[in-house]
């Protein structure tokens, strides 16, 4: 079963380009990031592990507090730990700047 989760966060900074990091493999996740036009950050998570909405929100909220970037992010998750997700988010941002 796949769970789909959506989140929005306030954002102010722009990024230059799209980025694609990670792969959909066991314990890993894929992140597609692109600049958003509406000055907000929005994230859609598709995950094979259900029931961790609060943890996703905590990881994402912390990321956008530190990096208030206006982006659209799509995450395809296959059981990544919060550590892997946080690393992929930072890597996507480094690639997009």
């Amino acid at each position: 079963m796949i769970e789909t989760l959506s989140y929005e966060y306030p954002a102010s900074d722009a990024v230059d380009r799209r980025a694609h990091v990670g792969v959909v493999a066991s314990g890993n996740c894929e992140i597609l990031l692109e600049p958003a036009q509406n000055g907000n950050a929005s994230v859609v998570v598709r995950t094979s592990v259900t029931g961790f909405g609060a943890t996703w929100n905590a990881v994402l909220a912390r990321f956008f507090v530190r990096n208030p970037v206006a982006v659209q992010i799509e995450i395809n998750d296959f059981g990544a730990t919060p550590a892997v997700v946080a690393l992929r988010l930072e890597q996507a941002l480094e690639a997009a700047r």
Partner: protein, 509 residues
Amino acid sequence: MLQELIEPGDRLCLEGNNQKQADFLSRSLAAVDPQRVHDLHLLISVIARPEHIALFERGIATHVDFSYSGPQSLRLAQQVADGRVQIGAIHTYLELFARYFVDLTPDIALIAADEADAHGNLYTGPNTEETPTIAEATAFRDGIVIAQVNRIVDTCTRVDIPGDWIDLVVVADKPYYIEPLFTRDPEQINDVQVLMAMLVLRGIYERHRVQSLNHGIGFDTAAIELILPTYGERLGLRGEVCTHWILNPHPTLIPAIESGWVRSVHCYGGELGMERYVAARPDVFFTGRDGSMRSNRAFAQTAGHYATDLFIGSTLQIDPDANSSTATLGRIAGFGGAPNLGSDPRGRRHPSVPWLEMTSGDEEVRRGRKIVVQLVETFQGSGVPTFVERLDAVELGRSANLPIAPVMIYGDDVTHVVTEEGVAYLYRAQNIDERRAALAAIAGVTPVGLRAEEQRTQALRASGVVAFPEDLGVRRSDANRTLLAARSIRELVEWSGGLYDPPRRFRSW
């Protein structure tokens, strides 16, 4: 024969640890008539094999003192709950060996060796481990020492234990069992572990100029070993850090050895498949005139405790005060050597740069301190946080009637904690409140980490009590498996020039 020699109630030391096992003798012991041999007090480093538990089930042994029981921890807990066995105490290796010379001297010891000659001289080979310690404690207090050997020879390859310590030799039905516990397949190391390895190398080894050290057993530390010849080389650290090791012959250290990083390695035990490689590197390992390695668990543990500047290892749980434990409810596992390696030796007197750096102030009388690092991901898996409000060990201690909770490494010994979020320099914290805040700052989105306040975390970064990757010049986009000098067992074999001969279960070709 065992039935003739063993008296009920004897203290019996059975050789067996997390690597080598006197398994022929343990199987034989489990098969004795419990009417004749019963109520033994078992002394054993690691309760690892099913027949060890059978000793309790059959009433052959009713008391046990040990160090670790990982593979049988669940069944041991059941035996304790059923009242079939009483635990004296859970020790560290060094502590248990020490008691063999004080109040737990064996009446009889069952040990394992590779070869025996007609005089009973023993060759114990690369996996000498704890055999001489057990034999010495027993033989010199009029105990009986029985050795199982793989073969009888005219002349031993070398004499590791002299024949006049040995009373009986028996040829085993098959060579003694060895667990290849320290073999880590680089295939399974992920990018997060590479990131943490980079943080350790920059934030701790480079910063404190750590030359002598011990690594734990996990993939996290294997990642460090594997980025020395790549990332470490780029940082110009070869010869500056990681030169002297107390470590089993980890296959993942081969690339660093072959790249000229390592000056010496002393080992607790051998590692299956590493025999030929080690024999070819007598400039690095402790080897005999015959060429093969000599290990010694007691000396390596002593060296790891007193003579290394740093210990780094992983754990399953860390509480807000940085106490750590691998204990899980329903299991009684123990800790092996970690508490000795991962604690400050208060008897140490020789100075070194890292040891002195761990203290501050300018009092006339002060001591240095060992660097003790816990290296963990913030979560063990989906929804299983590493940072917890209270260790499971507390409840386990209560339910198993242990007088103290089985804590592996006490928080006040821990100087650094590293996660994928960054490094907490706990030794720099001014007070307990700052210490907790530093730990929370790198605890991610665990319940402990969520308590971190962003402003406080920024202040801790500014004062150098916490460092994030960017504070250490570590780029997350570099945290990639391509940094590993070997990415598979096969590549480790190539690095070894074909001398490393991995056990079949690690071969994918």
